[in-house]
């Protein structure tokens, strides 16, 4: 066997008959070299099967060409869509993705972000704008660009949507149909500004219309189909049963509708259901789900692009708010005449 260990800049340099420094330049600042030299170096590198060692490069240059992403969970259609786009976009520019998840736990997020920073990520992408003071501190101490997704605090960049408006839109739709007794199944409000925003929007629409949203009409659940069923079960047992139920995310709405159907109710004749997110699935369930389109994939793509901008020039670029839009399908209709 010819070579046993991995070749480094030194080996390439020797083979090309130039200095180590020249090889380094050939690989990172090609235009700085003579065409002739450049060719020799590239050839030598190829022949030796040279692979740059990013760890060393990162240490010497301070930049690692990695971006850290901390999401609540990887196991979510929403975040998966966004992540896929983030990965694709960053990858095109030669960046690798370092991912962490924290299960909606602020402390875990703090540790995770600290870990990402320790690993020397050049930038950080996170979800939402609510986090521990200590987390913000360590982000600022790191001195690297930050992009918040979905929503975020003013002083850092953000690519997201108006969650309040999304909530308002879907509630308004039901109100317009004639509903006044509306139930809501939402994710946990604590530590989740997206969910809080959506609920607030729903509240706003209701109160604008002169209707109330009693605490009993709001069921806080985990974010899964099963939890949607649970939440629906609770709401259906109210003495004054709602004529429509909003799931603050489609997953909950879909679970809820399934539960109602399981109990013999006809959707939307007996009761309406609506969500927020517009999952691919929501168009295919029976009946298809009325919802609010939230461009998850685009949030991911734009966040990544935003990050690339910041990496090039660290000046904050502010907030980007993507439009959301009501998507009316078959799961909603006017309430049955009492």
């Amino acid at each position: 066997m010819p070579r046993s260990r991995k070749p480094g800049l030194a080996e390439v340099a020797a083979r090309a008959g130039v200095s180590l420094a020249t090889v380094s330049r050939a690989l990172s600042q090609p235009k700085m070299l003579q065409a002739e030299t450049l060719k020799r170096v590239h050839e030598a590198a190829r022949e030796l099967g040279y692979r740059p060692n990013r760890k060393a490069s990162a240490l010497a240059s301070g930049r690692s060409r990695t971006v850290g992403v901390a999401v609540p969970t990887l196991n979510s259609a929403i975040f998966a869509e966004a992540l896929q786009e983030i990965q694709r976009t960053l990858y095109e520019e030669g960046y690798q993705l370092l991912v962490a998840s924290h299960e909606y736990d602020p402390l875990a997020e703090s540790v995770a972000i600290g870990e990402l920073v320790s690993h020397g990520v050049d930038g950080l992408i996170v979800v939402g704008g609510e986090r521990l003071r200590a987390t913000w501190d360590s982000v600022e101490a790191a001195g690297i660009p930050l992009v918040q997704m979905w929503c975020g605090v003013d002083r850092f960049d953000c690519v997201g949507i108006d969650n309040v408006h999304a909530g308002w839109l879907i509630a308004r739709h039901l109100i317009d149909l004639g509903h006044s007794r509306i139930g809501v199944i939402t994710g946990h409000q604590r530590h989740n500004d997206r969910q809080r925003g959506r609920l607030r929007g729903i509240r706003n629409a209701l109160s604008e219309a002169g209707f109330a949203l009693p605490g009993a009409h709001v069921s806080e659940q985990a974010l899964s189909v099963g939890s949607g069923r649970l939440g629906c079960a609770t709401l259906l047992e109210l003495s004054e049963r709602p004529t429509a139920i909003i799931g603050a995310v489609d997953l909950l709405a879909i679970g809820a509708a399934i539960e109602a159907q399981g109990r013999g109710l006809v959707v939307p004749d007996d009761i309406s259901f609506a969500g927020i997110d517009n999952l691919e699935f929501s168009a295919h369930v029976a009946p298809s789900l009325t919802t609010v389109e939230v461009p998850s994939a685009e949030i991911g793509a734009r966040s990544a692009r935003h990050m690339l901008d910041l990496l090039r020039n660290p000046e904050p670029k502010g907030h980007v708010t993507l439009p959301v839009e009501l998507v009316v399908r078959r799961s909603t209709r006017p309430p049955p005449r009492a």
Copy 2:
């Protein structure tokens, strides 16, 4: 402001009145130090807000405490489940995840894996066992542990399932119900050994029973609900329409069933549908989907644990095959009497 730049081992050492090396040890091999010294160092580190610089640590030690994962796509319930568990498991042991996706493109996978290796990952987790020769070469050249998920070639470790058996199981179920004219919607066979295995299993069951699976009864599609609908549309237009349709993944089966229902067919009275994967969703669609349970999350968890073992001791540990199991629900029943 007291300190402007980030403290390093040197600063901590100075403050604790020990040598740089001692601090290094205090953080990585605590048991090597006197309790008293250890305490002093930790205190100094805490007071200075010391954060280890993994880039430097990686370069000096050769180990980066990162694991690379290359999946076809992040935007898939299956891979998302597995990834979540991988992340959770590795994270507990202090490892970070470097993820890449390649859209089922072998060349892209090759580049992605090369990139991960360049970044110095300590181990590699991939999906399936089919990849370019060049990719295998670079994996071997890297000299780091590899774990294949779902299925893989013999000479590298693998945590997966028997895809052939999964296909066999679901086909056998339909055959047992009395079906003989079965249609299949599968993902692209090329570059996807999981899909090939499943189709082969289906073929085996059919031929064991003395039935044929004509080419026209197999529709190759992308892996999405929409593609399932498409595939179903094709199969329904055959002169000898199948009495049952298998989706090689639940996503396809669900899409197919939706398409059939959209065309006025009653499932399962007019036509049966079955899948493989057992997505959370599959239990909730109407009618609930008969399928084969594939423990995606466990594949992820066990792969990660397997990787941790390999990281500790690089001796290959062979293949782990997790059991799959038929889950009979409401979407299948005997064919209608002609």
